[in-house]
């Protein structure tokens, strides 16, 4: 199947229903289908499996996703909040030859394209408001103007085989190169079927969209709402941190966010008893959900069923779910259970030698798992192993299971951590800082502040002869890395503590920084 068909079915049955609310406007299924058709038509000549999409919380962002899928391509979201260098790297790695861009990001694209390798076809979202000088930005590239009068909305999407890609996201990579995670239509289909089996949505539901397109939980927002012929309400960037008024005004019935957003709302006392009586479902994913926060949300949304969802990008959006009961929420170290695996997938909790263990790394296989990283056999080899004929993905998450079969997240196996719900490989920050400062020994660590939030501190061994300014390092990171990967502070050392094997003693380094942090507070 092509996941575009979830949208197409709803459009065929409910063309006049609201499909999307974004930027203060509502669009019907008909209007969204028409916009998607124009973009699908404009990209149809691309030779590559993926098309880029530089758009953000706008009609173009959603019509772009649909148009690219309709044309039988997978989309690669390009987040305008990322630095130009990173966007260029993604365009190069994905081998994009075509991209759709929202007009307001044309100047950004011009600077991105200074660092790209291939000639690109650029499709501006709105030829009518294109300024005269804008096509001139792109000397070596071809600017294609989509049809202004609309195009015939040819029947359903071009049917794709189950192996075709729906989208590709890039996650943080330890050598400084992001890893491409290509997801097939079949991967997404398994997720959508599981969610729609677990939860009873209706065309009257109003779903939130809190996630950027570069976060795979946005696929849930779009395709769970559209597969139910419901309406998707995209929250504006500036309201996103704490959108109480938005929820009430739009009578949102289905909420989905990282727990951090809920935590901010709690701290601002927005989660008063029965604050959100219209809410029927509330889902959380992306980082550990605290027991106390789940209870608080239940009080604020007493008519809502709560779910805690878990899953790495490589396993497509989410691969397990815990139905949070009104009483007796299961948790470990204050973190709510991540529940049971979705149908169509298999798991194994393994120790170092691949034997089943009570507590160990979670390995996954099945319908939601990617086959491999995009053009990256080394990383694929690291992350996947074949055992007794089954190919397992190593999540790097240490979990355990209770006697009912419910899973609990224990901790990350390596130094990969989550900051504001985003996955961060600390090695990647070290790599960037090390290259900038010309020093060998750089270690970024995570310390926990008094508010239980994670903070990045980059430790640098500074030779006495060298002058390095902390502010310059942070400024460089800001220009090179996404905001959530920029260290909060820099700590200079004359040497790092070592363990017996002569390796940097990370635990000791962590203790030193944590102590200093606690003293400051």
């Amino acid at each position: 199947m092509n996941i575009y068909d979830y949208f197409e079915d709803a459009f065929q049955h409910h063309p006049a229903k609201t499909a999307l609310a974004v930027d203060g406007r509502e669009y019907t299924y008909q209007q969204l289908a028409d916009s998607a058709a124009v973009l699908a038509h404009a990209i149809q000549d691309s030779d590559q499996p993926f098309t880029g999409l530089l758009a953000h919380r706008s009609l173009t962002a959603f019509a772009g996703v649909l148009g690219i899928l309709k044309a039988g391509k997978g989309y690669v979201p390009l987040n305008p909040k990322f630095p130009a260098n990173r966007l260029a790297t993604i365009i190069n790695l994905a081998k994009l030859d075509t991209l759709i861009v929202e007009n307001q990001y044309l100047p950004l694209l011009a600077s991105v394209l200074k660092k790209t390798e291939k000639t690109l076809k650029i499709i501006p979202s709105d030829p009518a408001t294109l300024k005269k000088e804008q096509p001139g930005f792109f000397k070596n590239h071809q600017v294609l103007l989509p049809a202004t009068g609309g195009v015939a909305n040819t029947n359903a999407s071009e049917k794709k085989s189950a192996g075709a890609f729906a989208y590709m996201l890039f996650t943080s990579g330890s050598t400084g190169k992001p890893k491409g995670v290509p997801i097939t239509h079949q991967n997404v289909q398994n997720y959508v079927e599981n969610i729609n089996r677990l939860m009873q949505f209706s065309p009257n539901d109003r779903f939130t969209n809190t996630f950027d397109l570069t976060f795979d939980l946005s696929i849930h927002d779009m395709f769970i709402s559209w597969s139910n012929a419901a309406a998707l309400y995209c929250i504006a960037e500036k309201s996103l941190m704490a959108p109480a008024r938005f929820l009430k005004k739009n009578k949102i019935s289905c909420w989905f966010s990282v727990p951090s957003v809920a935590n901010v709302m709690k701290r601002l006392r927005m989660l008063k008893d029965n604050a959100f009586p219209d809410m029927r479902y509330a889902l959380f994913c992306g980082e550990p959900l605290l027991h106390s926060l789940a209870e608080k949300w239940q009080e604020a949304a007493p008519n809502a069923k709560l779910f805690n969802i878990y899953g790495p990008t490589e396993a497509t959006i989410g691969i397990s779910s815990y139905t949070i009961p009104k009483k007796g929420i299961k948790s470990l170290n204050g973190m709510v259970s991540i529940g049971r695996l979705f149908l169509g997938n298999e798991m194994k909790i393994a120790d170092e030698t691949f034997n089943d263990a009570g507590e160990g790394e979670l390995l996954l296989s099945g319908r939601q798992l990617i086959a491999q990283y995009w053009n990256n056999p080394d990383k694929s080899k690291e992350a996947f192993t074949v055992h007794n004929g089954v190919r397992w993905y190593h999540t790097g998450d240490i979990v355990k299971k209770d006697s009912d079969g419910d899973l609990f997240f224990v901790e990350r196996k390596d130094f990969q951590v989550k900051i504001q719900g985003y996955r961060v490989e600390l090695n990647e920050i070290d790599y960037v800082v090390s290259r900038f400062t010309g020093t060998e020994e750089v270690r970024t660590i995570v310390v926990t502040g008094s508010n239980q939030m994670n903070k990045l501190v980059t430790c640098i061994v500074k030779p006495p002869t060298k002058s390095i300014e902390a502010l310059d390092v942070i400024a460089h990171c800001r220009n090179t890395l996404p905001a959530y990967m920029v260290p909060e502070s820099i700590a200079f050392f004359s040497s790092f503590p070592r363990n017996q094997n002569g390796k940097t003693n990370i635990r000791e380094l962590h203790n030193l920084i944590q102590k200093e942090n606690t003293q400051q507070q």
Partner: protein, 84 residues
């Protein structure tokens, strides 16, 4: 307390943060979100709100608001003035 005094206090409460970032108060756009200007992340902003409430001895009611309603200096000054 008049509005100028409130604004002065709002700036003084973020002075340590500004110093750390190497930003002077004059560079801040009072009508623009402090988050989109890179002064705070969401958790830093929450701490800033807590300091504002303590300094003015008020409890702000955010229940009917979105973040877009209270993240600029000007918006905060208005909210503080009406909460007193």
């Amino acid at each position: 307390m008049n509005k100028n005094n409130i604004t002065d206090t709002l700036f003084s409460l973020m002075s340590a943060r500004l110093e750390k970032l190497g930003v002077s108060a004059g560079d801040i756009d009072k009508t623009e979100s402090l988050l989109s200007q890179g002064i705070f992340d969401s958790m830093g902003f929450i701490e800033y709100i807590a300091e504002i409430e303590e300094a003015f001895d008020i409890e702000i009611d955010f229940e009917e608001m979105d973040a877009a309603d209270f993240t600029s200096v000007e918006q905060l000054a208005k909210i503080v003035a009406s909460s007193k």
